[in-house]
């Protein structure tokens, strides 16, 4: 099979709250429920940790889809982290559309730790959505070497800050 014939397997990152969705993903696994292997799970202390900057930078790095999975409304261990995350996801979706990417590439879901089956189902649904949209044009263009990347060797920041900046002080972000 040539490269051109390789079926598109979307690269999806899932930011998962450790109190719910991360445990739900674990439950899906131990329950032998299949979900897309291309899902890269990142454990967070709470989805309230998610920031618009990180969401956009993840897309800039060429990911095809991004899932933010937090606790059910009213069940956040930090009271409102999942609600803040929802607001930021909505805001980031508007940025994506302004940029020229489909907003559906970013989605937030809410789960409890007991909802392993739902996690597998929603992750599969997300993968299908991204498959129908196709690969991120940012990812393919990057693969084709069209992106001039310069970065900070220390932290991997694609756009390093200048001297005397917050970046160099280590408190930039």
């Amino acid at each position: 099979m040539t490269v051109a014939e390789t079926p598109f397997e979307p690269k999806i990152v899932a930011f998962c709250c450790r109190h719910c969705a991360y445990a739900a993903a674990d439950l899906a696994g131990t329950s032998r429920l299949a979900y897309p292997p291309s899902l890269n799970i990142v454990e967070l202390p709470c989805t309230g940790r998610v920031d618009v900057l990180e969401l956009l930078r993840t897309f800039e790095d060429g990911v095809d889809g991004l899932l933010v999975a937090g606790c059910l409304p009213g069940r956040c261990h930090y009271l409102a982290g999942n609600l803040h995350a929802r607001q930021r996801v909505d805001y980031a979706q508007r940025w994506l559309e302004d940029i020229g990417l489909e907003g559906e590439r970013l989605r937030m879901i809410n789960l409890s730790a007991a909802m392993g089956a739902q996690f597998a189902e929603l992750a599969t649904e997300m993968a299908e959505t991204i498959k129908s949209l196709g690969p991120s044009p940012l990812g393919t263009r990057r693969a084709a070497g069209e992106i001039p990347t310069t970065g900070c060797a220390a932290c991997g920041d694609p756009a390093p800050l200048l001297a005397e900046s917050a970046h160099d002080r280590g408190d930039g972000r």
Partner: protein, 228 residues
């Protein structure tokens, strides 16, 4: 604080058309606390611009930095080092910051990423309202700490007008009538009778009619070099 908001991405991409290597400069003061031009907003906008331009097939490098205070030459001086490599500076400072950069680096294109909007305060998280127009002659002593110049649509000095309806302004039903607030405030302080004194027409010469305003403090100026 000076309150600003980011220009639409479409306006910025049009403004930056043709540039390939841009330095986005944030400001760590007013526009940081109104979430328009601080470190994080610089990061978000720079990332968005890089992606938008990549999708247009015209990749653009956008480097990021944020200075503590963009409106003073001393704080932006370190930017001189390494500036040659950039086609343009995209300032996420207020209008003063943009102009300070443009004055300090006159050979460089300096472009505004923000629309500077007003001097104001946050009334709740995520909401800012205007409180001062810098008219040059403060009357807050007369009006109980509520500014009729910035908060009354007609800038009345002897209000309210007939458009005050149920405590709200006829211009916008979500905007409280400034003069209603002034009367209530002074009444609460037992000073409402002071408002019966008619204020004369305002002297607007201290405001924006005479071109850019200037304050000179001789006690603070540096002595001429020949005297040192």
């Amino acid at each position: 604080m000076i309150v600003a908001k980011q220009k639409p991405l479409s306006e910025l991409t049009a403004m930056l058309d043709g540039y390939r290597n841009v330095l986005a400069v944030g400001c760590g003061t007013c526009v940081t606390v109104c979430f328009a031009g601080g470190v994080k907003e610089v990061g978000i906008l720079a990332s968005a611009l890089r992606m938008a331009r990549r999708l247009d097939g015209q990749p653009m490098s956008v480097a990021e930095t944020t200075v503590q205070r963009q409106c003073e030459a001393e704080y932006i001086a370190p930017l001189a080092e390494g500036l040659d490599e950039f086609d343009a500076i995209l300032s996420l400072g207020c209008g003063v910051g943009v102009q300070t950069l443009a004055e300090r680096f006159p050979d460089k294109r300096v472009l505004p990423a923000l629309d500077t909007t007003f001097m104001g305060l946050p009334t709740e998280q995520g909401v800012w309202e205007e409180r001062c127009q810098g008219c040059g002659h403060c009357v807050l002593d007369i009006t109980g700490g509520i500014c009729p110049v910035s908060r009354c649509a007609k800038q009345l000095m002897n209000g309210p007008c007939g458009g005050s309806q149920g405590g709200m302004c006829e211009v916008d039903s979500d905007t409280p009538c400034a003069w209603q607030l002034i009367w209530e405030r002074l009444d609460r302080q037992g000073l409402a009778d002071r408002l019966l004194e008619i204020q004369p027409p305002r002297d607007w010469s201290t405001s924006r009619d005479g071109g850019p305003r200037r304050i000179v403090r001789d006690d603070l100026r540096l002595p001429p070099p020949e005297d040192v």
